[in-house]
């Protein structure tokens, strides 16, 4: 790896292992990285320890071994540069606060003037298209809009990396497509690096610049796949692209093979699949 691309890496996860307090090994060994502004997905079967992986990356859980490096510094506690967006927006949002207050909530930790905070909140609400709902409460909104509130709250905090934990798993298909495109727009608009965890292969391929394929637990990375689909992505055009279909089938086969049996593959040696 050249010095230039090394400096470009905003996040490095090196030989991360996570054993639960009960003794079960959730993550065998995982190494991934993300470049600044990159959209990276981790796709794997249900129960592959994906949430555990994200929580460990953002410092909410301590790794059993290995390390997480953010901008060249090791992560030991949740750093302000990373924000996690949970699947369950109903639990992560605060129902006693209005939409505006939810979005402004994390800013109490930032030493900013009131007008500066206002501007950040307004920008975030504009970015997710929720300006008209600012004074309402999360539970007055549909599921998709609630997840927009959670995303706006994360964006207002101005993180370098957004960690997305199956954020669209609880919304209907149309809303899902809208939210997918929203994350792509936010990446472009704010230059946020996106790290998405999902079990939806099509979603991972559609959104990402690179996809890491996870085995069933104890998890390892079984493949790293580059996604050289043209930008900007478009729900109809991208998903009917021949390359999209090739890539999603490839991921599908990998997950199928490694979900069924991990014995025949060396779990510590991920396949590297070159783009085309």
């Amino acid at each position: 790896m050249t010095a230039a691309s090394e400096r470009d890496l905003v996040l490095q996860v090196v030989d991360l292992q996570k054993r639960y307090a009960g003794g079960n090994l959730a993550i065998e060994r995982i190494s991934i990285d993300a470049r600044r502004g990159e959209f990276v997905s981790i796709v794997g079967p249900s129960g592959a320890g994906k949430t555990t992986l994200l929580k460990t990356i953002c410092g909410l859980l301590a790794p059993t071994s290995g390390r997480v490096v953010l901008d060249g510094r090791p992560v030991t506690a949740p750093p302000p540069e990373m924000v996690l967006v949970f699947q369950d927006y109903a639990r992560s949002l605060f129902p006693w606060l209005s939409v505006t207050s939810n979005v402004a909530f994390p800013l109490r930790k930032k030493r900013l003037s009131a007008s500066e905070k206002r501007r950040l909140v307004d920008e975030a609400l504009d970015a997710v298209g929720l300006h008209d709902c600012a004074s309402r409460y999360p539970w007055q909104l549909s599921g998709g809009m609630q997840q927009r509130v959670a995303i706006a709250r994360a964006v207002a905090f101005r993180p370098e990396i957004l960690l997305l934990d199956e954020p669209f798993a609880s919304v209907d298909a149309l809303t899902r497509a809208d939210l997918e495109d929203l994350t792509l727009r936010l990446r472009d608009e704010f230059g946020i690096t996106m790290l998405l965890v999902t079990h939806d292969i099509d979603e991972a391929v559609y959104l990402s610049d690179r996809v890491f394929v996870l085995s069933k637990p104890p998890s390892v990375i079984v493949a790293e796949i580059a996604v050289p689909l043209p930008l900007p992505r478009d729900q109809e055009r991208t998903r009917s692209d021949a390359l999209f279909l090739t890539l999603r089938n490839q991921v599908h086969r990998l997950i199928g093979a490694h979900a069924a049996s991990t014995e025949d593959a060396d779990p510590l040696a991920p396949e590297r699949i070159p783009a085309r």
């Binding site: 924000v83 605060f94 129902p95 930790k109």
Partner: protein, 253 residues
């Protein structure tokens, strides 16, 4: 809604009418008709007796209840957020909450005498357990995602408790406060019946002992009205503080 409320009032009126008719027909001096109780009620309570008996009862009730509410919520939240405290104290709480609070009144009289201090103390003792136990549960059961969100955004322990755990626990805290209020009401009446020289509990019991039967019923009626009013006041406060919770629960249906 209006029809339903009207129906409830009709029920009360019909029952009172039946009581009136039966009491007049049977002429039992131990069960006077409601009309006579109403007359006595007006004579007795629209008089200095209200200040002599009802005001001290209310004052003791509110003092004891306030102590129970403040201590119950504060200690309950503290236990709920601390795993070691929870493990150490939860079994003890489960034992103490199961104790009928009236049972401690004799001990209260021994230690504190029969004055106001005893009454306020036993009211506080009676009311605190449901408040405490509900606050513990509410603070203990905050969704993992909410706590993770707070940590993710760099909130410290104190801020997390104040801005995330306490609001999350509020619906359960209020459930405990409501049960505590009902228990405080029971405790004031019993503590005044057992020892004292004024108060509604005392007034009801002494009316019974001096065969002032309508006065005894008038005291009971005043207790019912005060209980109803306090509960209504409580609901009013709860609906204001927990407006978001009411809305969220309805939205989830």
């Amino acid at each position: 809604m209006r029809v339903r409320r009207l129906l409830g009032v009709v029920t009360i009126v019909v029952l009172l009418a039946i009581w009136e008719i039966v009491a007049r027909a049977k002429a039992n001096i131990y069960v006077p008709p409601p009309s006579q109780i109403a007359t006595t009620f007006v004579q007795q309570w629209f008089s200095p007796a209200f200040g002599h008996d009802a005001v001290p009862s209310l004052w003791r009730l509110l003092a004891g209840y306030a102590i129970a509410a403040v201590l119950g919520v504060a200690i309950g939240i503290a236990i709920g957020v601390s795993v070691p405290l929870y493990r150490t104290l939860d079994p003890l709480l489960q034992v103490l909450r199961a104790l009928p609070p009236t049972a401690v009144i004799p001990a209260g009289i021994l230690v504190l005498g029969i004055g106001d201090a005893m009454k306020v103390a036993v009211i506080a003792f009676g009311a605190i357990w449901p408040i405490l136990v509900n606050s513990v549960d509410g603070a203990h059961a905050v969704a993992r995602e909410r706590l993770d969100t707070a940590r993710n955004f760099g909130l410290g322990r104190g801020e997390t408790i104040l801005f995330v755990i306490v609001p999350s626990a509020l619906p359960q805290v209020f459930a405990g406060l409501r049960i505590g209020l009902a228990l405080a009401f029971i405790m004031i009446v019993i503590s005044e019946m057992v020892g004292g020289s004024n108060g509604l509990g005392y007034a009801i019991l002494s009316a019974q002992r001096t065969f002032s039967i309508p006065e005894m019923y008038a005291g009971i009626v005043l207790l019912a009205i005060l209980g109803f009013a306090l509960n209504a006041l409580f609901s009013l406060v709860e609906r204001r503080v927990l407006a978001w919770h009411v809305g969220a629960t309805e939205a989830a249906r």
